[in-house]
């Protein structure tokens, strides 16, 4: 995955970058699967490697293939990015250890989903139960985001009538 990312940063042929992005998404999906997030892995594979790649290729066809040589010096952006990364690293050092069953996220809120979810909603896939019921309102919001994106693209890309403006 890291190799794919570095290659993405240096590659100037945008087609190559898109292909790498697709590979990267598949790798990401694999890692997510290994972490037991099967629903997320499935979505990431469909969205990252599927939809995003198709969209990127479509846009690439419309805009043309190679990137110009960057004019700026890369040092300042790199420093900024690393500073943000360092901040995140600082925060992460204090997080609970990996797979610690005592960690707050396992001790609070989630046990009810796992313990009572099946009884309360009748749905064995707890991800679905949380997604559609406990936090169903988030999912409504998510659907609206998709709708906004779709309607927004229509507004931006609707073909002009030939006689119109």
């Amino acid at each position: 995955m890291a190799v794919a990312v570095v290659a993405m940063a240096t590659q100037r042929n945008l087609f190559g970058v898109v292909v790498l992005f697709s590979i990267y998404s598949f790798l990401m999906a694999t890692v997510l699967f290994a972490l037991d997030a099967v629903d997320v892995a499935m979505t990431e594979a469909a969205v990252g490697a599927g939809v995003s790649t198709v969209l990127l290729l479509g846009a690439l066809y419309l805009t043309g293939g190679t990137e110009a040589k960057p004019l700026h010096r890369p040092l300042i952006p790199l420093a900024l990015a690393i500073a943000v990364g360092a901040l995140l690293a600082y925060g992460m050092l204090g997080l609970p250890a990996f797979s610690d069953p005592e960690a707050p996220i396992h001790a609070h809120v989630a046990p009810r989903y796992l313990g009572e979810g099946l009884k309360e909603t009748g749905v064995p896939n707890i991800v679905t139960a949380v997604l559609a019921s406990y936090r169903g309102y988030d999912t409504l919001g998510e659907t609206v985001v998709i709708f906004t994106g779709g309607a927004g693209v229509i507004a931006l890309l609707r073909r002009r009538r030939r006689n119109g403006s």
């Binding site: 925060g91 992460m92 204090g94 609070h108 927004g152």
Partner: protein, 494 residues
């Protein structure tokens, strides 16, 4: 029966109307629906304000799932204040939208523009009312995505680039916010803001919490155009269609300020964090820098809309200054200024929209306004009043909030801050004078299509101008509501 469901209807109403508009595909229907919904939202917001005043904080469990497991809507003195601000602006801008959109947006996408406007309204209201950290992110994205589209529909091709830049910065901001929330979630195991606040007080390991504070501050700072994260704002305001500018300028950054207030005072434990970090000093420093630098840039800006956009960056400085000063008077000033500046800037951009319509141009330089007073006397007069409120002349809304800010600064013994407030106001006087001078004293020139702004637009604008003056005299709602909210924040901090 419906009274208890008002919190959810507040958001779902505009949310559900957007797809209806897309289904109908009709501009007339879209406009009527948008207007009705905006006024509906205003009515609901006022009803909620009455309820909160009578019986305190309202909590609404969506899906009947109790709070930390389900998503909770929470209406308190602070959020209801912002709800009223947002829906008030919406209901003033909606009737105005008809002419503005007809003039600036192609016919076959006008209905989409209305749909986006409803979504943006729903998103902003949703951010304000929710009591759940992740739900806040979802609605933040609804409002942001619709805002990008609203901006990109401007006639000038620079609108596209402005929208693109805003999109990059806005998405980085939202991602930072998610990272911050993720860290907090990992430390507390909950996403409900109230529950999170209680559990954060028992967390010993502070590093993730401090990092979360930083990420959320920078993330929301990008959205609220906190100096020096404001680069997206001037172009976005300048090239968006007039009604979008008016609505966004009056509401979007204000809602972000509200998010900062909520996190700083009602989620994080000040005793724990602010002892470690000089947040107050940072806020004061950035605010002061923003007020001075942005005002100076505005002074030399030639495009009118950009001039007032930079002025917005400076005014946001006043608002965040109140957060940094952190006492009763300054917070009251800040929160009042959310409303007062919202109304003032809304009025200015609505008026400029009318001018743009009659002058047949989208980007106007200051010089283009020459002779405005003779061509469109009411509009010019409105600009003067709103300008006075922007400067903070006694008798206008702007004066009231600045007065409280100065009181707050004096209470802290920060004389130099008072000096800066006065200096920034003087610069504001200078750039407002530039506009007024050209409008009143220079002879008319350039293209003009004749007449005052259309009656619908003018009514909306004058209503806002009247509010600028009204809030300068009768402060029961503005300062009264703000004081309640400030009390709430300070109590939560204890």
């Amino acid at each position: 029966m419906m009274a208890e469901h008002l919190p959810i209807l507040q958001v779902v109403l505009p949310l559900a109307v957007a797809p209806l508009i897309v289904l109908a595909r009709d501009r007339g229907f879209a406009w009527v629906a948008t207007t009705v919904v905006s006024y509906g939202c205003l009515a609901i917001a006022i009803a909620l304000a009455v309820q909160v005043a009578a019986s305190g904080t309202i909590s609404y469990a969506i899906g009947s799932w109790p709070a930390p497991w389900g998503i909770e809507y929470r209406v308190d003195a602070l959020s209801v204040f912002v709800l009223v601000l947002v829906s008030l602006t919406a209901s003033l801008v909606a009737p105005y939208a008809q002419r503005s959109i007809a003039a600036e947006v192609a016919d076959d996408r006008a209905y989409l523009m209305y749909a986006m406007y409803c979504l943006c309204l729903a998103g902003l209201l949703g951010i304000t009312i929710t009591g759940d950290a992740f739900n806040l992110f979802v609605f933040l994205e609804i409002s942001s995505l619709s805002t990008y589209v609203l901006i990109a529909l401007g006639r000038n091709r620079k609108a596209l680039v402005a929208a693109y830049q805003y999109m990059l910065m806005g998405t980085v901001g939202a991602t930072f916010y998610v990272i911050g929330v993720g860290l907090l979630y990992l430390m507390t195991g909950t996403l409900n803001l109230a529950d999170m606040a209680a559990r954060l007080r028992e967390v010993d390991e502070l590093r993730p919490v401090l990092a979360a504070l930083a990420f959320i501050t920078v993330g929301i700072g990008l959205k609220l155009a906190l100096f020096p994260l404001h680069q997206w704002l001037p172009n976005a305001y300048a090239y968006a269609p007039s009604m979008a500018t008016a609505f966004i300028a009056a509401t979007a950054t204000k809602v972000s300020v509200y998010v900062v207030l909520r996190y700083y005072f009602m989620v994080f434990d000040p005793a724990q964090l602010f002892a470690h970090l000089p947040t107050r000093e940072v806020f004061i420093a950035l605010s002061v820098a923003g007020m001075l630098v942005a005002s100076l840039v505005a002074l030399f800006e030639s495009d009118v809309k950009r001039l007032f956009a930079y002025s917005s960056v400076a005014q946001i400085g006043y608002i965040t200054l109140g957060i940094g000063l952190d006492n009763q008077a300054s917070l009251t000033g800040s929160i009042t200024h959310l409303l007062n500046h919202g109304v003032t800037k809304g009025a200015i951009f609505v008026l400029l929209g009318g001018v743009a319509l009659r002058y047949g141009t989208q980007s106007m330089s200051v010089a283009n306004l020459a002779g405005l007073a003779r061509r469109m006397p009411l509009t010019a007069f409105g600009l003067v009043i709103a300008g006075l409120s922007l400067i903070g002349i006694p008798g206008t809304a702007g004066f009231v909030s600045k007065w409280y800010l100065i009181m707050g600064a004096l209470e802290q013994g920060l004389w130099w801050v008072v000096g800066v407030i006065l200096a920034a106001s003087l610069i504001a006087a200078a750039y407002v004078w530039r506009v007024v001078e050209v409008a009143y004293l220079c002879p008319a020139r350039g293209e003009w299509r004749g007449g005052e702004a259309p009656i619908g637009m003018l009514t909306a604008a004058l209503a806002m101008v009247i509010l600028c003056v009204y809030f300068g005299f009768d402060t029961t709602f503005s300062v009264g509501g703000a004081r309640e909210a400030a009390d709430l924040l300070l109590r939560a901090q204890k």
